[in-house]
């Protein structure tokens, strides 16, 4: 073998497979991503209005309103959790057969999980980014319509903080909700994975 030819590493094969998977199943992936986008947008918007209220209590803002926002924030996190894990679970479950096939071709359990990890990572980052921008934008916009917005530097700082948290929550939830069922599918006997009909 000439030295210019090199063997693709497992990471490269997995990455190529993940990219193909996203590309070919584009609309299915968009549907799954929408669940993440909406969940994160809701979470980010609640967190943003919470931050804005904290920065400059508006006319309507009082202690009761702040408590209510806290509840809303917690609720949005739960919604995120349910929405994201549901859409990711679905998209992994409908691919059990593919997992069984990959194993028949000699894929290690680790490779299978890795493909799903990469896919979820790409999906999670993109969807969370869209959701975060959407959520923060809507919250600031709504505040601008109903009330005055605090000073720009403060708002930007708050938005960045909320954005960071939202991205983290979104990506982490997407990856965990995808990798856990993928791990389970990879660990089961290939015949069982092939038998699963969705």
């Amino acid at each position: 073998m000439s030295s210019t030819k090199r063997k693709p590493t497992m990471l490269e094969i997995a990455f190529a497979q993940a990219v193909k998977s996203i590309y070919v199943r584009f609309w299915r992936q968009v549907a799954a991503a929408l669940g993440v986008v909406l969940g994160i947008a809701f979470f980010a918007s609640v967190r943003t209005s919470q931050a804005l209220t904290h920065l400059a209590p508006s006319g309507t803002a009082d202690a009761e309103w702040a408590t209510r926002l806290n509840w809303l924030s917690a609720l949005s996190l739960v919604m995120c959790l349910v929405g994201i894990s549901n859409s990711m679970l679905m998209s992994v479950t409908e691919r059990y057969r593919e997992i069984g096939t990959l194993k028949c071709l000699g894929a290690s359990d680790r490779f299978v999980v890795f493909v799903f990890f990469l896919e979820a990572l790409v999906l999670g980052v993109l969807a969370s980014l869209v959701g975060t921008i959407l959520g923060i934008g809507v919250a600031i916009g709504a505040r601008a319509i109903s009330d005055s917005v605090p000073d720009a530097p403060d708002v930007i700082l708050a938005a960045l903080r909320v954005g960071g948290i939202s991205m983290l929550v979104g990506v982490a939830l997407t990856v965990v909700a995808s990798v856990l069922p993928a791990m389970q599918a990879a660990r089961m006997p290939a015949a069982a994975a092939l038998r699963v009909e969705v």
């Binding site: 030819k5 497979q17 593919e98 000699g106 359990d109 006997p189 290939a190 092939l194």
Partner: protein, 260 residues
């Protein structure tokens, strides 16, 4: 690098056992029913043989297929591939076995939908650590060998059932396995296409010396098999060799040309 093509041309060693099962039993629990899919199956398969496992649906032949292929674990008994008890293998050793020693063909083809014909065939080679250029070259050769040299870059959805099964066969041969396991390979194909696939399998068996074990209830398989193992209720009901068949089906055309 060990040339995989050379491995494919292993001559027939009729005496060498490649698959051995001993008292294999497997039960499934379906709701309240306990289904005894396999009930003490002991079977020897020699290198280079073409063995058909016949039986009605629910007879346990698919379970036997899964157990031999290391896709499912038996509850009792052992399966030896090349005299290695596969129950003793770690998951990664099992993955290695699936990658290098066994090729799988399914009734439903099970191609990776997001990959083209060539990419499906090269995937096992990449798993085996081959470089991409060499894999592409060898994959094209294999697709050519199964009659799909013109359709390298078609996706599974752009291929007919028979063509998809040919891709699956080429993919199963990717790492020049010693054993080709086929589970109802003609089950989703029409009569003529099914016959073509069976002829292709027989040709690969002759040319490459690959051992073929096929679970089927397609009677067209009878013509080409060296041995037929009849499974009923999870047990081996009888085993017929080609010689027996020619005696009982002597008038069927296409069996044993030396007779004519």
């Amino acid at each position: 690098m060990n040339s995989a093509a050379a491995d494919g041309q292993v001559p027939h060693h009729e005496s060498e056992l490649i698959v051995r099962t001993r008292d294999v039993a497997k039960t499934y629990v379906l709701g309240e029913h306990v289904v005894r899919a396999l009930d003490g199956v002991s079977l020897d398969v020699h290198r280079g043989e073409y063995v058909s496992i016949m039986g009605p649906s629910g007879s346990g032949k698919s379970t036997l297929f899964n157990v031999i292929g290391g896709l499912d674990k038996p509850d009792k008994g052992s399966v030896y591939i090349n005299e290695v008890d596969i129950a003793q293998l770690t998951p990664s050793e099992l993955a290695f076995l699936r990658c290098h020693t066994i090729g799988y063909i399914f009734q439903t083809f099970n191609l990776i939908q997001v990959r083209t014909a060539l990419e499906n065939v090269t995937l096992p080679m990449l798993f085996a650590g081959m470089n991409a250029e060499e894999a592409d070259e060898k994959g094209a050769q294999l697709l050519d060998a199964v009659g799909l040299g013109e359709r390298l870059h078609h996706r599974p959805t752009e291929l007919s059932g028979g063509q998809q099964q040919r891709v699956a066969i080429a993919r199963a041969l990717a790492n020049a396995p010693a054993i080709l396991l086929a589970d109802e390979p003609t089950g989703n194909l029409d009569l003529r296409t099914g016959k073509e696939i069976i002829e292709l399998l027989r040709r690969l068996n002759d040319e490459r010396g690959v051992t073929i074990i096929s679970a089927t209830h397609d009677l067209k398989m009878l013509d080409v098999s060296d041995r037929i193992v009849y499974i009923r209720d999870g047990q081996i009901a009888k085993i017929e060799t080609r010689g027996d068949l020619e005696l009982s089906l002597g008038s069927v055309e296409g069996i044993g040309e030396e007779k004519w």
